[in-house]
Symmetry: C2
Subunit: 473 residues, 2 copies
């Protein structure tokens, strides 16, 4: 691509917002985890308004350039990364669309542009005595546009839903450069098809989300946190049901950790200590929250745990510091796993009731396929979502182990499908899993996805190679 | 249509399940409200399984018959009714697909066929110590397939969402007779496009929902109910915010009634009495619910109301009977309105914060356009959803008044749009409002809807004339 070809884009966006030298484009090419690093794109575009996104999109259609929308670039599946050497694509970063347009406290909504960081939304909500509940590890770096494009999940899905369930309206630039003005803040609107939900989770393959109106909730006035030691996943599932009922459905998080996952945190992460006197096969970390100030949630949680059967041991946090200690264990697992060597990550979900059978079957199959592998499952029990991660055997090099990613992920995913689960639960498909879409998804569903892709992006300019497998016809 | 043409369908479904005499088809042609009554269809089909629905759909494609999917036939906008004299259409009733396939209490899900009555799902959930929260007046007659096809709302949307938010997976027969097996019970699944949400709310124009997996919640162990008298809608909006926060977000319903609406109930409905000593301009009916047995919600509600400002008067129900008295007032309004003559119904929504300005503007405009009209607004304040109903002036006949439906609805809908609202909030579009879709919806959104309709139903066999306006190209 010769630089002249970028002249029309520079006219539209200003020369400063069309980055094309290797130094300028490098930070956008390199995905944070380092697994998917494109080597070259024609340019990185940084438009400053929805109108500029639309004009750039039209220009890219004219010049037959593909467009890779990019938010905070924190994704784990390469959805926002270039495909290796890709001179016919531009990365379109939404980072300059970073205004909160409106916070309507009485309507319990916030309208924000795609480039707003997730933490900025959380903070704006807090300042208005409201809660924006989407929360996960990358919240200071990721952007709400990317959160919606990937239908991000995280810690509070159990109570508040994932990004899709938090969205009421969207503004989207379409493949042909038209703008869909769908920014409603309505809880009930049955005046047409659910276009909103089609763009959410489509990872930029159907349109470019430029702004969204999202639900807010009453700010939480009190919390209670406990960690519980359990003998089995079956006990954890049963306890989750009991606590959900007995807590008055005030549970915001229910996280499960295997002994191996918690042990990695204790061994490799700073300030992580055994939370209970003895070791247990599984740990459940639960948190309750209420916007009512006068409620004693800790007492309610203590009572509910005392009433439960098959609980090995438990501790309700006596202070915010102690609650933070429990959470540090959970949040340190991904980092701590690095201390134990290379890891193969499986972001899967099954029905909550199928978790015990899935764990048994997947553990046995992986141990048979790769002797000495250390299983490190943890995740969101309330969503049936496990990070069924595998740490390298001590007698194998990182390279040897990582070379088996596709094989071992395939073993896990086959068992996921037998338990009516998903091989892409909360991190999406990106460029990591289109092969699994092709291999494992109902052919009728694949043809529906293809029909919709063709209807909305007939020339295939939006993020090609992501989500939708390449078909040969 | 000569009867021979039905022979292949009789072979597929059995002769008893292809109804073609006027006596047989009449109950399916006549919509309950009587506003949309088709005069003739080729036949009414009552398949007994998903496979039979699929085979019938394929046969209809072959014979170039259009298909009108029908659930409990309780819709208010003619979405399931035939278009007048329609010999080239069949009504496909899902009534015989009425099995609950699975209730998975540990996964908090129920899988049911489209023809299951809503009340049957509620009862099955209760028997398993769970709650299926979708609830509205027609719940003993409507079917879950229709609830999903219309994205039904109702009384508990504030806390639990509408039908779309309750659905996790669907099984759908497509226009070409293929079956999409999308019956997952997963809270997190980012392995492809949100096809589920496209079918939900599409009123049978994109596919025929044959079964669904839906969320369950912990059963409620206690409730608290209060009725509050207020001077204005602005006070009601403010009180709603306060109570949502102070109740610990345990509010399941927040219903607003104008004095006129409540007065009609008192005047025309049995066992309806003034709930408070004096009359007020507006009434708010709130209900809290909790699955925790030991919580004193009535005390919490009493305290929250005592702390609130700008409350005219209130009463917290002292017994289940008294709570039922309050609810009877609310639930009697639609019937009571008949006692006051003919009514023009506007099912609209605006942001909650815009309700006061909308009420002022719409009331003034309607009073100017139609002197003597009695405004009877009521609805779901927590969803910004009002039934902005108009009762006939005393000096006008029902016929004269109803002849002005389109004109007066247009006046209301124009004001709705100025307040960023929806002219079809929870009852859908059906055949009542495609003109408003065409008149009021963003042209870009209309072209997206058309593109999707073409992609999924290229021959336009599924429920033509509903939702999507007829375009002239």
């Amino acid at each position: 691509m010769i630089d002249n070809a970028l002249t029309p884009l520079k006219t539209i966006l200003g020369a400063d917002n069309v980055l094309s030298t290797p130094e300028q484009t490098a930070p956008y090419l390199q995905e944070r985890r380092g697994r998917f690093a494109g080597r070259r794109v024609a340019a990185v575009l940084t438009p400053g308004s929805t109108q500029e996104v639309a004009a750039a999109m039209r220009q890219c259609q004219t010049q037959q350039l593909n467009v890779i929308p990019q938010g905070g670039n924190t994704g784990l599946c390469g959805g926002a990364a270039a495909l290796d050497d890709d001179p016919h694509s531009v990365i379109l970063s939404l980072e300059r669309l970073n205004k909160i347009r409106l916070l309507d406290a009485e309507n319990f909504t916030i309208t924000a542009e795609a480039g707003c960081r997730l933490s900025a939304l959380q903070e704006a909500a807090t300042a208005a005595d409201r809660l924006f509940p989407l929360s996960y590890a990358a919240e200071r770096d990721c952007q709400i546009g990317g959160n919606l494009a990937t239908n991000a999940g995280g810690m509070n899905v159990l109570r508040y839903g994932n990004a899709r369930e938090l969205a009421l309206g969207l503004e989207v630039v379409l493949a042909d450069g038209q703008i869909w003005h769908g920014l409603t803040g309505l809880r009930k609107d049955n005046s047409g098809y659910a276009l909103r939900d089609l763009f959410i989770g489509s990872e930029g393959t159907l349109g470019i989300i430029t702004a969204a109106t999202l639900k807010l909730f009453p700010a939480l006035r009190c919390r209670a946190t406990a960690i519980v030691g359990l003998a089995s996943m079956a006990d954890a599932v049963q306890l989750f049901s009991h606590l959900r009922q007995a807590s008055g459905d005030t549970m915001t998080s229910a996280e499960v950790m295997s002994r191996q996952a918690l042990g990695f945190a204790v061994d490799y992460a700073p300030n992580c200590h055994e939370p209970l006197p003895a070791a247990h096969h599984w740990y459940l970390l639960v948190e309750l929250g209420s916007s009512a100030a006068a409620v004693d949630l800790s007492k309610r949680l203590e009572r509910a745990l005392a009433d439960a059967s098959d609980v090995g041991d438990y501790r309700v946090a006596r202070s915010a510091d102690e609650a933070a200690d429990f959470w540090r264990l959970r949040n340190s697992i991904p980092g701590a796993q690095k201390g134990a060597g290379a890891s193969i990550k499986n972001d899967i979900s099954v029905p909550i009731s199928a978790l015990p059978a899935f764990i048994d079957a997947a553990s046995a199959a992986i141990e048979q396929h790769c002797q000495g592998v250390r299983l490190c499952p943890f995740g969101h029990i309330g969503d049936g979502n496990l990070h069924f991660n595998l740490s390298q055997p001590k007698n194998m090099s990182a390279e040897q182990f990582l070379a088996r990613w596709e094989e071992l992920a395939g073993v896990v995913n086959d068992i996921v499908m037998r338990h009516h689960g998903s091989f892409a639960a909360e991190h999406g498909v990106g460029q990591l899993k289109p092969n699994e879409v092709s291999r494992l998804k109902d052919p009728v569903e694949q043809s529906l996805m293809r029909a919709i892709k063709l209807a909305l992006d007939p020339e295939g300019r939006l993020n090609p190679g992501k989500v939708i497998p390449r078909y040969d016809d």
